[in-house]
């Protein structure tokens, strides 16, 4: 593929072709992610609709399948309102600052063996660092809007994200200890064997902590106090309209996809087939590409996100903080020690 691309653009200097090729790869990741985001919003409305015994959107296109496109067009046509006393520059930069980290993190996510844009050595650290930047967009949005609701939402969100990042980081420490690497491809390959070799089993508490912290990090229900429509209207993005609002929306949903992807990569064996090691089924499903397994596993977690939203009432703010600081952080620290002993004792089938 690279050769045909190079031949096609042979009139350009080689470095430029290289650069263009990377841009093509970026588009090959970013565009499907955007498509997934669009249809995740539809899935959310449909799933919650059915949970609440409604049909959900069903007017635009067959069975409402064109609804996200209609929504996108509508948002593009609307007027971007900038509040009079808002800080114009920061007000407009804020959505970009939330969106950019959410999408940048996909650069190091492997979708299959070797199917990764930048196979860097410390990809896990990179993801942790880049996703921790997303909070700036929220804080700046809250401050630049010059609105009390927005500022309150931003402060809540900042405190929550900073608190849960610690638990998330410790859970990742466990993953890197178990995988013996900071590289996501190596971590997935360390889970080779069977469904019992995946890290969800030796790291079961971390698996739960990571996913719950991920829900909290993305400001989703039941941890969505940053938006809290019943208390502070819509939180940090209350003053945003049209495309500026939809960029926040895109960022939130791509962050959800990212968390779901990472959870399946780190704890559920990524692109490894769940039938590995089972005599007949393994051959029967050998033709399924790894990407399909990864997408299926990711969808399970995305469904969980929607299910949580339809099921759980919102956490009280002090209890969110308690859960993060007094439950998750001690739990993760204890598990690091336990895991150390498991690795030292070469407990099978994971660490022998």
């Amino acid at each position: 593929m690279l050769e045909t691309f190079q031949n096609l653009l042979s009139f350009l200097p080689a470095e430029l072709v290289q650069l263009l090729w990377i841009v093509v790869k970026i588009l090959a990741i970013a565009l499907p992610v955007m498509g997934a985001v669009a249809y995740l919003t539809l899935a959310e409305r449909k799933v919650i609709g059915y949970i609440q015994v409604r049909i959900g959107p069903n007017r635009v296109g067959p069975r409402g399948l064109l609804q996200p496109i209609a929504d996108g067009l509508k948002l593009m046509m609307k007027e971007t309102i900038i509040p009079t006393k808002a800080n114009r520059v920061l007000f407009l930069i804020a959505p970009v600052l939330t969106f950019a980290p959410a999408i940048t993190a996909f650069a190091v996510v492997p979708f299959d063996e070797g199917l990764v844009l930048a196979d860097i050595d410390a990809s896990l650290l990179f993801i942790l660092a880049i996703t921790s930047m997303g909070v700036y967009g929220i804080i700046i949005a809250g401050w630049a809007s010059n609105s009390k609701y927005a500022l309150l939402g931003a402060l809540r969100s900042a405190a929550q994200i900073v608190s849960y990042e610690i638990a998330m980081g410790f859970a990742l420490v466990c993953v890197l200890m178990a995988g013996g690497s900071l590289n996501l491809t190596d971590i997935v390959n360390a889970q080779q064997g069977s469904i019992l070799h995946w890290f969800w089993l030796p790291l079961l508490p971390m698996f739960l902590v990571y996913f719950i912290a991920g829900v909290a990090e993305t400001n989703r229900a039941p941890f969505d106090v940053a938006e809290g429509e019943s208390e502070i209207v819509a939180g940090f993005h209350v003053e945003y309209s049209a495309m500026t609002f939809s960029v926040f929306f895109l960022a939130e949903y791509s962050a959800m996809i990212l968390i779901a992807l990472l959870t399946s990569l780190m704890f559920l064996g990524g692109w490894l087939s769940p039938f590995q090691g089972i005599p007949v089924l393994e051959e029967l499903f050998a033709w399924v590409p790894g990407l399909v397994w990864l997408i299926l596993k990711t969808s399970v977690f995305l469904f969980l996100y929607l299910w949580f939203r339809a099921t759980f009432p919102r956490y009280r703010y002090d209890q969110i903080m308690r859960l993060g600081w007094k439950v998750f952080i001690p739990l993760t620290i204890v598990w690091i020690v336990v895991l150390g002993f498991l690795i030292l004792g070469e407990v099978g089938p994971w660490f022998d």
Partner: protein, 201 residues
């Protein structure tokens, strides 16, 4: 000019510009954001030095946590900007003298005679399978294990001190311990009253 050099000038240019803006810009929130940009650009420079772990940790710790709390505080304080701008001309001579001395000291120590290319040639590029994280970890837990542990102890002491300073013995807010909350049973709170429907006369 190769791409690496170009990137170096880009990142260091941004770092210097942003650092200048931190001290000259008037709005404190903007200043904090420029400081974030400075950190980010420095992380880029460190990446070019093949110190990925340090670069990523700089972003993770300073950009992702410390500066968030900084911004948090600055936004909560409604700073009156007027007194901050007062006395600029009064302090200018002393300030510029101190700045000049500082720059001179830095130039004398990290000047070209000690850190020039002759005194300290550029190290050869690391091989492809070199892992900065692994090397740092190895050094920290073997050669420098005592200083490393001492730093950890120091941090723990600081944490304990910070908590001891801010801990209020008497709770000002109303608080119910969650372990008592979950003991609540339906029969303690809820009484179902059975009564016959009233008849319309």
């Amino acid at each position: 000019m190769n791409a690496e050099l170009l990137l170096f000038y880009l990142f260091s240019g941004i770092a210097v510009l942003a650092a200048g803006m931190v001290i000259t810009i008037r709005n404190p929130v903007h200043a904090a954001l420029f400081l974030v940009l400075t950190f980010f650009a420095s992380a880029g420079v460190w990446l070019l030095l093949e110190a990925e772990f340090l670069a990523v940790t700089l972003v993770l710790v300073y950009v992702g946590a410390v500066m968030v709390l900084f911004l948090f505080v600055i936004m909560m304080l409604d700073i009156n900007l007027v007194p901050l701008r007062e006395g600029f001309t009064k302090y200018l001579p002393v300030g510029s003298l101190i700045a000049f001395v500082l720059v001179l000291e830095i130039a004398l120590i990290v000047g070209p005679e000690r850190f020039g290319l002759e005194a300290m040639p550029a190290p050869p590029g690391a091989p492809e399978d070199y892992s900065n994280t692994k090397e740092l970890g190895r050094l920290l837990y073997t050669t420098y294990v005592y200083p490393f542990e001492l730093a950890a102890v120091l941090l723990v002491v600081a944490i304990v001190a910070a908590i001891a300073l801010t801990l209020r013995p008497k709770r000002q807010s109303r608080f119910v311990p969650p372990e008592e909350q979950i003991k609540v049973r339906k029969k303690d709170r809820l009484r179902v009253v059975k009564m016959s429907a009233e008849k319309k006369k």
